[in-house]
């Protein structure tokens, strides 16, 4: 049984009057984990506290079973990080930089590892160029290279797709998928690009105002927020919709073509109710199916409740 990626117990972090993490208690234990939320939600602060960049005002944090406060070096040995807006030494060549990183990480064959990492991120031909001459996309790829160097147990990527073109983004997702499936490396991603999260993550946390507002698999979250919304095709949508709206268990009714889109307040026996109402207003039911939304709709519903 692997240790959880991270465990937060009552963690609070304040910057002056701003509460970045608000009594956060959380266990993240997925293979590829994603953090989403608006700017200032606390995602980067959460990562920073995991890495010891900032110290919480209260609470304890364990990463891969190690206490961040007292065993930070053990944590760092097992983690590769691409921080937000990283600053790499511009005077180094990319390969020399990675060799130095490999030595700091205690990797036995630093040159070989550096060349492998450059190859994985598609920078092998530019490895001898100084970092200061890199484009922002190449810079981000280099950031990814230093994070995956030496195959750490956990890789944390804070906005990994920043400055990347569409091909670069695809490459990041490819690397995440291959490392997580083939090499059993675990990931924690923080990003605003929800498509990336939907594509690769098996656990998602939605943060807002320093709190974890929702968490679970993408499928669980979508079912939770859209499981009560149905598309019902009937012979007379207007009459049926009006009748539905009168009932106490319906939250909202909308029309989309020949379908009535209805959201129920709570879990009811949808099929039984639809048939009962159809008989009552004498319309023919042609189709009843749940409407499942996307992660960005889940995010909107979590952050802006009705």
């Amino acid at each position: 049984m692997k240790e959880p990626v991270v465990e937060f117990k009552g963690v609070t972090k304040r910057f002056g009057k701003v509460v970045a993490l608000d009594d956060l208690t959380l266990v993240i234990n997925g293979r590829v984990n994603g953090l989403i939320g608006p700017n200032g939600a606390g995602k980067t602060t959460l990562i920073n506290t995991m890495m010891g960049f900032t110290r919480p005002n209260a609470g304890t944090i364990h990463v891969l079973g190690y206490d961040v406060d007292s065993e930070l070096n053990e944590v760092k040995k097992r983690i590769g990080v691409l921080p937000e807006r990283p600053g790499f030494p511009g005077t180094f060549s990319a390969e020399k930089f990675l060799v130095r990183v490999a030595r700091l990480r205690g990797i036995s064959k630093p040159h070989k590892s550096a060349r492998e990492a450059l190859d994985v991120v598609g920078l092998s031909e530019a490895g001898d160029r100084r970092i200061r001459t890199y484009s922002s996309g190449m810079y981000q790829r280099l950031g990814l290279a230093q994070a995956i160097l030496g195959e750490p147990e956990l890789i944390i990527l804070d906005e990994p797709a920043a400055n990347l073109d569409p091909l670069g983004r695809v490459d990041v997702l490819r690397i995440v998928e291959s490392y997580s499936k083939e090499r059993e490396v675990r990931f924690l991603l923080s990003t605003h690009i929800l498509y990336d999260i939907e594509k690769v993550c098996d656990w998602v946390g939605i943060m807002d105002s320093g709190r974890m507002r929702e968490q679970g698999s993408v499928e669980e979250l979508i079912r939770k927020y859209f499981g009560l919304t149905y598309s019902i095709v009937v012979s007379d949508p207007q009459v049926f919709g009006a009748e539905l709206a009168k009932t106490k268990y319906v939250k909202s009714v909308a029309y989309r073509g020949i379908a009535v889109i209805v959201t129920f307040k709570a879990s009811v026996d949808v099929y039984e109710e639809v048939i009962r109402l159809a008989k009552k207003v004498q319309v023919r039911v042609e189709d009843v199916r749940p409407v499942l939304g996307s992660l960005d709709e889940v995010l909107r519903r979590v952050l802006i409740p009705d």
Binding site: K76, E84, P89, T91, R100, L104, R105
Partner: protein
């Protein structure tokens, strides 16, 4: 020295002492040294008068250059998130702090020390009446005393660089910005000069300055050396032991206090 610590020092030197910092400081130092050598020639009175402001500011060049180097190393690395990257690897904050401070301090000292050394050799070759004018008008008649005076100057240089480095490290960690920390450093430095100048040079507080403090160390210890180990006599003028100790303790103790404060701050600082 552990492998990681050695690697951190190599990292710091390669990153922080690259073009144009090294070349710029070297050029400024050479100009200073050459002006001093020109002064030392017997027939160079005219040049001496012209270039006097240049060489008299040498100690400030040392201090400000050291401040820029340490500001880049600490303030800029926080500002540009280089420190975050470095601390994401399995190294401790203490290791990074000590490696940064030590490597930059030794490199600065080597650079300026070499300049002083070259200056000493040139002066010896030209055999002038030896003026050690860098920290004031200490005029030694015997060339044989030169090595001791050179040693004192190097020691004083060490103190000046140490004080400036520690102060700047502290300021950089406090404000986390390179430009702002340099500005505060300059305001402090020249503010102290103005205040020390205002109280005159007849009270110990006047030696809490970079123009009088280092001079007091060289002049006082030179006089002590000449009077103790040679048959010549050298007066110290109005320079008392209190004045000497003020200048000496200001640089040494001030540097130590700022260094300790910086070390504590580096352990607690939030890299958000």
């Amino acid at each position: 020295m552990t492998g990681k610590f050695r690697e951190l020092i190599a990292w710091e030197l390669e990153e922080n002492w690259d073009f144009p910092v090294l070349e710029l400081i070297l050029a400024i130092t050479i100009i200073q040294v050459l002006s001093l050598v020109t002064l030392a020639r017997d027939d160079a009175d005219l040049l001496a008068n012209i270039s006097r402001p240049l060489w008299s500011s040498m100690v400030f060049v040392f201090a400000i250059s050291a401040a820029v180097v340490f500001g880049r190393s600490f303030g800029e690395s926080i500002e540009r998130r280089k420190l975050v990257v470095l601390l994401s690897y399995p190294v401790s904050r203490v290791q990074v702090f000590v490696a940064k401070f030590l490597s930059n301090f030794l490199a600065t000292l080597c650079l300026f020390g070499s300049a002083l050394f070259v200056e000493g050799i040139l002066l010896y070759m030209f055999k002038p009446n030896v003026y050690w004018l860098m920290f004031g008008d200490t005029w030694i008649m015997e060339v044989g005393n030169a090595p001791f005076i050179w040693g004192l100057m190097f020691f004083t240089l060490l103190l000046v660089v140490f004080f400036a480095s520690s102060l700047m490290t502290f300021l950089s960690l406090m404000v986390k910005r390179f430009g702002l920390s340099v500005l505060i450093f300059l305001i402090y430095l020249f503010g102290m000069e103005y205040w020390a100048g205002a109280v005159g040079n007849r009270v110990p507080q006047a030696y809490l300055s970079l123009s009088l403090g280092p001079e007091s160390i060289v002049r006082y210890l030179t006089a002590w050396y000449v009077n103790t180990f040679t048959e010549n006599y050298m007066g110290t003028g109005a320079l008392t032991v209190g004045f000497f100790l003020t200048g000496f303790c200001y640089l040494l103790m001030g540097g130590l206090v700022f260094l300790l404060a910086s070390l504590i701050l580096s352990q607690r600082i939030d890299l958000d």
